[in-house]
């Protein structure tokens, strides 16, 4: 039978097209039905505003997805790193319904960004985007200082219409006069912020005893100092005299509270519990204590 085909190019062509279509039908066409299941919708997820959409287009233009993914996998390390404080903060179908195209990416040269919204204050992003190495010295992310140029808003309305996203004239007006950086930061701050994972994480109480195991332990100071310069100096300043975050040289609160702020984060202060762990956070608290009052 197969040998017969060796003499019939047209049949061979049609048959190979058919053979290709079988797997295609099952694994490419059929899944639309599963993915579009209305029960997978997430109520809080809203379409992009004009400014956020322009920011997303800049993300696409610059190919940020060549280094950054936007999917947190249901794996212990992924959730701890990219949805800290939660247990089920991994990505769900419903989060992505307005993403045309998807930006999941295939390579994590840099960290996942699916939950970057709200992790840092805007000011951090502006500084980091313009000059990543000034914030994270060993980073290999390119600088994007040129994005301080004005945003081209001539297509904004057509873009919103093409995607069928709702918008108000005020929102369109608000895009005018913005820079590309403004738009990009607006987009980044939206990512992962319209799903309930962060609120759930913040509401979860800290379990276990809040007692510093390193009190009066001088050996913890050196490590604490190193950890602070690696993780905190970018916002609180090399001398902890303040910057994007407040000065940390006169903390008058109980150690347990300071521990909790660092562990769970607060406002523009990212949570470090899952990425550093209790021991390291306590070492940092010990070091901060030793600095209190010093100029």
């Amino acid at each position: 039978m197969l040998d017969l085909l060796e003499k019939k190019p047209v049949i061979l062509l049609l048959l190979s097209a058919l053979v290709i279509m079988i797997g295609t039908a099952v694994t490419m066409i059929a899944p639309f039905t599963w993915i579009n299941d209305p029960s997978l919708k997430i109520a809080g997820v809203k379409p992009y505003t004009p400014l956020q959409l322009e920011g997303r287009d800049i993300y696409v233009r610059e190919g940020c997805n060549n280094c950054h993914t936007q999917t947190v996998r249901p794996l212990v390390a992924d959730v701890a790193r990219y949805a800290p404080g939660s247990t089920d903060g991994y990505s769900k179908v419903g989060e992505f319904v307005y993403d045309q195209p998807h930006l999941w990416g295939s390579r994590r040269t840099g960290p996942d960004l699916a939950r970057i919204g709200g992790k840092y204050p805007d000011a951090w992003h502006y500084k980091h985007m313009a000059d990543p190495q000034s914030m994270v010295p060993k980073s290999n992310m390119p600088g994007y200082a040129f994005m301080r140029q004005p945003l081209d808003s001539s297509l904004t309305e057509r873009k919103m219409k093409a995607l069928g996203f709702p918008y108000t004239p005020a929102e369109l007006e608000a895009v005018k006069g913005k820079t590309e950086m403004d738009a990009l930061v607006a987009y980044l701050q939206k990512l992962g912020n319209d799903i309930p994972w962060r609120k759930a994480a913040a509401a979860a109480p800290l379990v276990g005893e809040l007692k510093n195991p390193y009190t009066d332990n001088a050996s913890a100071l050196n490590e604490g100092k190193l950890l602070v310069s690696q993780n905190c100096a970018q916002c609180h300043g090399e001398e902890l005299k303040g910057g994007i975050g407040p000065a940390l040289t006169s903390l008058a609160r109980p150690e347990g509270e300071i521990f909790s702020t660092i562990f769970k984060g607060r406002g523009g202060m990212p949570a470090f519990g899952d990425t550093l762990g209790r021991e390291k956070v306590w070492k940092i608290v010990t070091y901060l204590g030793s600095r209190t009052g010093k100029k």
Binding site: K7, S16, I20, T27, M28, W34, N66, S91, S106
Partner: protein
């Protein structure tokens, strides 16, 4: 003799020249982005920063070098296997012109930041339309030549060629569907998890229909020509063919393991990926068994070396690939440097080695001369293989180390290393990879020098058929 003289190899010459030029561009950009990952100050924003250059690298490599040389070799092979001159030489010349236009537009538009952002399908919609026209012209010309053939039986290479023509067309059309906003901007027609699933149905089968079936077609043609012995089993080739093109299409979601794409799609992808070992290795065995009693040619004939190493890397690639498709292993190495290690063993070890063999084989024949220097070809071979192995091996080690660090946890369940701590450990490997890339670049320059010298010593082709050149 009369048939031979009527073959038209002008298009083949043109495509070979240009595919080599685009291959050089791809490797130059590859080396540049390797260095950018180590020295971020090498980014020249906005046009030459990593995020824009990486797609230029992959497009120049896959479409410029890969597809360009496939077009050259498909025209050559199809004429010989059908014993029939090309259906329309004029159309083929136009196709060369259009091909170069597309590649130039691709490079310029990607540098400008015009992109649909889907991997290996970045080009904006107006260029997509040109690509479709290009492909239709190509497919028509090849297929009509096959229809007019003087040799009734179609050799297995022609099967793979036909599957490539159909497969690429279907994949490209569906995945690139977009809603245009302006000449330079469009949005994907699919959203979110649907878009991702369509994308990797495409992306994975681009590996099938661009980086697997065309080099196989060329491999099956070249091996008997070069060794002088027939392929071990035509039948095995045919069974492998049908199972390969059947199974590949089920496996796209192995690029999406642990993502929100439905679990059953991932499980199917995992299962079929493992099944794929069978048809892949059928071709590897077909190659090896054909070499029975001929292994001495590995020493005597430089072209055999390219082909046997090529099919061996294909064999390794098709064992490593299925292992990456297993959920537990994917959880570990997905998103790390392990994957570029996999990619470049296939791209440099399999695809490029077979293409080099093809160029070395074709050039002396279409220019009716002898290769300028077999010594240089051997130097090219060893440098290319060393550069590639340095690249892949350093990336596998890097990937394992990064995966280990990113997954390490403390007793209290918190993470042991921050992301930056893992990144800092990558630099030595990235230096090594850049070094491997430079070695590879040197090998490529030797190759180009050798080919140039050969072409200059040859006749321009169409006039006389010299006895030495006729095969």
């Amino acid at each position: 003799m009369s048939v031979k003289a009527s073959y038209s190899d002008d298009a083949t010459k043109g495509f070979l020249t240009w595919s080599i030029i685009w291959g050089l561009v791809a490797v130059l950009v590859g080396v540049l982005i390797s260095f950018q990952l180590v020295f971020p100050q090498l980014n020249i924003p906005p046009y030459l920063s990593y995020g824009r250059l990486r797609p230029i690298h992959t497009n120049a490599a896959i479409f410029g070098w890969g597809i360009g040389s496939f077009m050259a070799m498909f025209y050559y092979i199809t004429q010989r296997l059908t014993k029939c001159p090309i259906w329309s030489p004029g159309l083929a010349r136009f196709q060369l012109w259009l091909f170069n236009l597309v590649i130039i537009l691709a490079a310029v538009s990607l540098a400008m930041g015009y992109t649909q952002s889907k991997e290996y399908a970045e080009l904006e919609w107006p260029i997509d339309i040109l690509v479709v026209i290009l492909w239709v012209i190509f497919a028509l010309n090849i297929f009509m030549t096959i229809m007019k053939r003087k040799e009734e039986q179609m050799y297995v290479s022609l099967w793979y060629i036909i599957a490539t023509l159909v497969g690429v067309a279907v994949l490209y059309l569906v995945n690139s569907a977009a809603i245009p906003v302006s000449l330079f901007k469009s949005y994907s027609a699919y959203a979110g998890a649907n878009d991702a699933n369509v994308q990797w149905w495409y992306g994975h089968n681009a590996v099938a229909m661009v980086l697997t079936t065309p080099p196989l077609a060329i491999f099956y043609y070249l091996l008997p020509k070069i060794t002088g012995v027939p392929i071990y089993s035509h039948r095995m080739g045919i069974i492998a063919f049908w199972s390969l093109i059947f199974m590949y299409l089920w496996t796209g979601a192995h690029h999406l393991l642990w993502t929100p794409v439905p679990d059953w799609v991932q499980t199917l992808a995992m299962g079929f990926s493992i099944l794929l070992i069978a048809p892949s290795w059928a071709s590897v065995f077909n190659g090896y068994f054909s070499m029975n009693g001929q292994w001495h040619q590995m020493r005597d004939n430089y072209l055999v070396k390219f082909l046997v190493f090529g099919i061996t890397f294909y064999g390794l690639q098709t064992l490593q690939g299925p292992s990456q498709a297993i959920r537990t292993f994917s959880a570990f190495i997905h998103y790390t440097d392990w994957v570029p290690g996999h990619v470049h063993m296939g791209a440099l070890g399999w695809v490029s080695l077979v293409l080099f063999a093809g160029v070395y084989y074709l050039i002396p024949r279409i220019y009716e001369t002898e290769l300028y220097s077999v010594k240089l070809a051997n130097a090219h071979f060893w440098l290319a293989v060393s550069g590639q192995l340095i690249y892949s091996i350093s990336m596998w080690i890097a990937g394992i180390q990064q995966a280990t660090m990113l997954n390490a946890t403390n007793a209290d369940g918190s993470l042991h290393y921050t992301f930056m701590e893992s990144l800092a450990e990558m630099y030595p490997y990235w230096h090594m990879r850049a070094g491997g890339g430079v070695i590879y670049l040197v090998s490529l320059l030797i190759f180009i020098y050798n080919i140039l010298k050969t072409v200059n010593s040859g006749s321009s082709g169409s006039q006389t058929v010299r006895a030495t050149g006729a095969v």
